[in-house]
C-alpha cells in the first residue's frame, strides 16, 4: 500500500505529515518513508539518528556524446530532439546536456553512428533505518534538471522493498515532478492550510490526483492560522477532509527544528485516523 503526501503549494506541511504518518505506520511490516521531493529532500531531517546502512546509490541516465570525426553535420539529431538539447547550426552540432532527458531518440536518428551513449549521474538514492522504519531518499544533483529520472529511480528502488506501507513525501506543484511522485500510489493525502494561496493550489492538486484516478483525502494543517474556508472549498471540489491539525505556536517552533511531535498525543491520534482512512479508501481501488 502506497500513500503519497502531496499539496500543490509548498510549505503547507507535507514533510511533517509524511514523516509522522511513517512513524504511525511502524505497527505494520517493513514501513518505509520514501522522500520523492528530490529537489528539496528534507524528510530524513526528522530522523537525525537514522543509520545509513549502505553507501548512496548513484542514479544515472544515458546521455549522448558526439564523435566529432564521424559527424557529417546533417542535423537530423537536432531535428529529432524534442527538448531543444541539440543545436545544429551551419553543420556544427552542439549539445546542452542540461536539457537532455536521455530518451535516446537522437541515437536512432543519426545516420552515421556519430552519437554514442554514456552514463551520466543525475542524483543519488540513500537508504536509512530508524529502528524498524526504513527511509529511502532521492536527491537530485544541484544544477541538474532531470528530477523525474531521480523520482522514478527512487520509486523503483522502493518498489523492490516488500513493505506493508510506504509513505511518499512528494514535491510541491502540479507539473512533471509531482505527477511522477503520485503516480502508482493507492491513496493521496493532500496537505492544505487555511489561506487563499493554499486553496488556489489545492484546487489544481485535486484535479491532478483525480486525473490519475487515485482516491484522495485533504488534511487541514495549521488549522486556525488563516481564515480561508477549506471545508467549503473541499466540498465544492468533491474532496473529503480526513484530518485536521490545529495551529499551535509550540508546534511551529518544534517543526522549525524538525523535531518529531510523537509526544503530542492528540496529533498522533490524528495521524492514526488519517492512516486508517487511507488504508481503507486506498484498498478499495485495485491498481493496474
Amino acid at each position: 500500500m502506497v500513500i503519497a503526501v502531496a499539496s500543490g503549494k509548498g510549505g503547507t506541511g507535507k514533510t511533517t505529515v509524511a514523516a509522522h504518518l511513517a512513524v504511525a505506520s511502524r505497527k505494520y511490516q517493513k514501513p518505509l518513508l520514501v522522500d520523492l521531493d528530490v529537489e528539496a529532500p528534507d524528510a530524513s531531517g526528522y530522523f537525525p539518528n537514522a543509520e545509513i546502512r549502505e553507501p548512496p546509490v548513484p542514479i544515472n541516465v544515458l546521455a549522448p556524446r558526439l564523435l566529432e570525426e564521424r559527424c557529417t553535420g546533417c542535423g537530423l539529431c537536432a531535428k529529432s530532439c524534442r527538448f531543444g538539447a541539440i543545436l545544429a547550426i551551419g553543420g556544427v552540432v552542439t549539445m546542452d546536456e542540461g536539457l537532455c532527458k536521455g530518451c535516446g531518440r537522437c541515437i536512432g536518428a543519426c545516420p552515421s553512428s556519430a552519437l554514442v551513449e554514456i552514463e551520466v549521474q543525475v542524483g543519488v538514492s540513500s537508504s536509512m533505518m530508524d529502528g524498524a522504519l526504513g527511509i529511502l531518499e532521492g536527491r537530485l544533483s544541484v544544477g541538474d534538471t532531470r528530477s523525474t529520472t531521480v523520482i522514478e529511480a527512487t520509486k523503483r528502488r522502493a518498489g523492490a522493498i516488500a513493505s506493508e506501507i510506504q509513505v511518499r513525501d512528494c514535491p510541491p506543484g502540479v507539473s512533471c515532478p509531482a505527477t511522477h511522485a503520485i503516480e502508482g500510489a493507492d491513496y493521496v493525502v493532500l496537505v492544505a492550510e487555511p489561506t487563499q494561496f493554499s486553496l488556489h493550489d489545492l484546487g489544481a492538486a485535486i484535479s491532478l490526483v483525480k486525473g490519475q484516478g487515485i482516491p484522495l483525502g485533504v488534511v487541514v494543517n495549521k488549522d486556525g492560522f488563516g481564515k480561508a474556508d477549506v471545508a467549503a472549498f473541499c466540498e465544492a471540489h468533491g474532496a473529503p477532509i480526513v484530518g485536521r491539525i490545529a495551529f499551535l505556536r509550540a508546534r511551529a517552533e518544534s517543526g522549525a527544528a524538525a523535531k518529531l511531535w510523537t509526544a503530542d498525543d492528540l496529533f498522533m491520534r490524528e495521524m492514526d485516523t488519517i492512516l486508517a482512512r487511507a488504508r481503507e479508501d486506498g484498498q478499495k481501488t485495485s491498481r493496474l
Binding site: S7, G8, K9, G10, G11, T12, T15, E39, A40, D42, G45, L62, S80, R82, D96, L99, K101, G102, C103, G104, R105, G108, L140, V142, G143, T145, S147, T148, E152, P171, P172, G173, V174, S175, C176, P177, A178, T179, H180, E183, T195, Q196, F197, H200, D201, A204, A205, L208, G211, Q212, F225, G226, A228, A252, E253, S254, G255, A256, A257, A258
Partner: protein, 314 residues
C-alpha cells in the same frame, strides 16, 4: 532594465509575499512576473484584474491508435521511461501520459504508424493589472502537464515585452532547484534568496545557493520566520555568512503578516517592528540592484561588477 528573482528552494518560505512587497515598493514602472506556474499566487497577493490571456501549447503528446496497433511491442522497448504498457488482457499497447516525456522515440519505432502526435493546451498565459496598476504576467499550467520550464520562459518573455527599457522585472520563482527554477534565475541581475529559519528551509537554501553560485548570479538573502528556534536562526545566519551573501534583513514569524494578507494588504502595510524590518530589507535589496541613490526614473543599468555575467545561461 534589471530583473530581480525571489527564490527559496523550500516551498512556503515566503517568496510570493516578499516578491509582492518588492513590487509594491517599486510601484508603477515595474512588471511582476509570477513564474511559479504550478502554483501561481501573485495575482491573489496583489489583487488583480485580467487584461489579456493566451493559450499555451507545450508541444505534442502521443497516443496509440488501437485499430492500427499490431502488438509488436517495439514502442515499449524503445521507451526509456517505462511509459508504454500492454493493456491488460489485450495484445495492444497504451501510453501512460503521467510517465510519458513526449520524446517521440516510440513513434520512430512503430512499424504500422499507429502512434499519432496530438496538440493539447498545456496551460494559459495571463496578463493582469494589480490594484496599483502594475502589470502582472502569470500563467497556469494544466495540472499534470509537463514543461513548466518552457512556460516560465514564456512568462519572462512577455514581461520583458511589457517592461520598458528602464523598468524592473520582479520574478516570483517556483520552489525547488530544477528546470522551472533555473529558467527563473537564468540571466537575472539579482536573486533574493528567502531562507526560512527552519531545518528544512536551511538545507534547501543551501542547495539553492549552490545553484545560484554555479549560475554566477549575484544574490542577497532575507531570513524569514525567525524567532521560532534560536538554533535555526543562528544556523541560517551562519549559512549566509559562509556563502558570503549579504543579509538584507530578518523577518520574524508573526501571525500579523497572515492577517495583513487576509485583509488584502501586502506586508508593507504592517506597522511596528515587523513592518519596519520588512521595509528596511526591501530598501536593502533595491540599493543592491540600483546603487545607493536609487533614481529609478533616469533609467539605465547600474554598472556593477555583475554586469559582465549578464548573458543568459542556457
Amino acid at each position: 532594465m534589471s530583473t530581480i528573482s525571489v527564490a527559496s528552494g523550500k516551498g512556503g518560505a515566503g517568496k510570493t509575499s516578499i516578491a509582492a512587497a518588492i513590487v509594491s515598493t517599486l510601484g508603477l514602472g515595474c512588471v511582476f512576473a509570477d513564474c511559479d506556474v504550478d502554483a501561481a499566487n501573485g495575482a491573489i497577493a496583489l489583487g488583480s484584474t485580467l487584461k489579456d490571456q493566451e493559450a499555451y501549447f507545450a508541444g505534442p503528446g502521443f497516443r496509440i491508435e488501437a485499430d492500427a496497433c499490431i502488438g509488436c511491442g517495439r514502442c515499449a522497448a524503445s521507451c526509456r521511461f517505462g511509459a508504454i504498457l500492454r493493456k491488460p488482457e489485450t495484445s495492444i499497447y497504451t501510453i501512460m501520459t503521467e510517465l510519458c516525456e513526449r520524446c517521440g522515440a516510440c513513434q520512430d519505432n512503430c512499424p504500422t504508424r499507429a502512434i499519432v502526435a496530438y496538440e493539447k493546451r498545456a496551460g494559459t498565459l495571463f496578463v493582469s493589472e494589480t490594484r496599483q496598476g502594475i502589470p502582472l504576467v502569470h500563467a497556469e499550467l494544466v495540472p499534470g502537464e509537463d514543461t513548466s520550464g518552457k512556460l516560465v520562459r514564456k512568462v519572462r518573455d512577455r514581461a520583458e515585452q511589457i517592461a520598458e527599457g528602464n523598468s524592473h522585472i520582479v520574478i516570483d520563482a517556483p520552489p525547488g532547484i530544477a528546470c522551472p527554477v533555473i529558467a527563473s534565475l537564468s540571466g537575472v541581475e539579482l536573486v533574493v534568496i528567502v531562507v526560512e529559519a527552519s531545518a528544512s528551509g536551511i538545507r534547501d537554501a543551501e542547495r539553492l545557493i549552490e545553484l545560484v553560485g554555479s549560475m554566477k548570479r549575484k544574490a542577497v538573502a532575507i531570513i524569514n520566520k525567525t524567532g521560532l528556534d534560536d538554533t535555526m536562526d543562528r544556523r541560517a545566519r551562519e549559512l549566509i555568512d559562509r556563502a558570503a551573501i549579504a543579509l538584507a534583513g530578518e523577518i520574524p514569524f508573526d501571525r500579523a503578516l497572515r492577517s495583513t494578507e487576509e485583509s488584502g494588504g501586502t506586508w508593507l502595510s504592517l506597522d511596528g517592528d515587523v513592518g519596519t524590518r520588512i521595509k528596511a530589507a526591501i530598501r536593502f535589496v533595491l540599493t543592491v540592484i540600483d546603487g545607493p541613490s536609487r533614481e529609478r526614473m533616469n533609467g539605465g543599468h547600474p554598472k556593477g561588477e555583475d554586469h559582465e555575467v549578464r548573458n543568459s545561461d542556457r
